[in-house]
Symmetry: C2
Subunit: 173 residues, 2 copies
């Protein structure tokens, strides 16, 4: 059974190998494949973000963060990023975290969620976000240097949250 909870600083040693393996693949995130643990920690658990982990039997199998996509006058639109351990890919952890993020964002008063850089060849992610109600609102041509495919487009995806049931922050998943 998957559980999703707020991450503590002590979770980083379990998140880091996931970050590292996802980024090393050079197929989904722009982060430099040589990003160090300290740099990744600053990105993934920044003070501006709320970071969560998905666990199974106590082991961290995925993580996501939620933060405003813009400061100040644009802070009502959320941004989020998700990583699943390659060993757990295809077992629903991404979808569970996505739903959790939408409900958490709604509970925190965000009005929409936006992804700025979904790699177009990442079919699993594109199809997941579409199934969760996101629309592609922009295509950035040749924005990503894919490790195997060369230059590929990135999608900007967006959805409003008014139809989402706010998560009670005390509830566990």
């Amino acid at each position: 059974m998957l559980e999703i909870r707020q991450a503590a600083p002590s979770d980083w040693p379990a998140i880091w190998p996931i970050f590292q393996s996802v980024v090393a693949d050079g197929a989904t995130y722009a982060y430099d494949p040589d990003t160090t643990s300290d740099e990744a920690l600053a990105l993934w658990m920044s003070p501006a973000a709320s970071t969560f982990v998905a666990t199974h039997g106590g082991a961290v199998v995925g993580s996501y963060f939620l933060k405003p996509n813009q400061p100040g006058l644009g802070s009502h639109v959320a941004n989020a990023a998700f990583m699943v351990s390659p060993a757990w890919s295809g077992h629903g952890a991404g979808r569970a975290m996505g739903e959790h993020a939408l409900r958490t964002a709604r509970a925190r008063g965000y009005e929409a969620m936006q992804f700025n850089f979904v790699v177009s060849s990442n079919e699993r992610a594109v199809s997941l976000w579409k199934s969760l109600g996101f629309a592609t609102i922009g295509v950035i041509p040749k924005a990503y240097r894919h490790s195997r495919l060369g230059l590929v487009d990135a999608y900007i995806m967006h959805r409003f949250l008014n139809d989402i049931l706010a998560r009670d922050e005390a509830e566990t998943v």
Copy 2:
């Protein structure tokens, strides 16, 4: 005669009132109108960015920064942001800085430039970027809380740089 040069840390006291007046208006940038000088300095002259000033008779009349829009595998697309002193609005400083930024980005090896958040009601900016070859590649609905108009859309604008003449970095404008 307008000159554009790399900004030095000692330029900040001249850039800050421009930043402050532009942001206080709540019509063009997402930055919180209450952003402090230290916060603004960290945003505008961050280590990741190259910051420039436009001067007239030695006085700073505008500023822009240039930086990668994404890290690592997306770092071939530049991002830039521009501010002109309200007193100098409409005198060509924005256009001069825009052209300077395009030529500088090209010289530094960027392949494209992307603006993530052009407020749709900011007609002067939208029309300037279109005239400099940018296309609107996405519309973020209701993304900006405009101080007078309420929620307005933001545009994502983009152009490739292959047709731009690289600026000789020794050259002055």
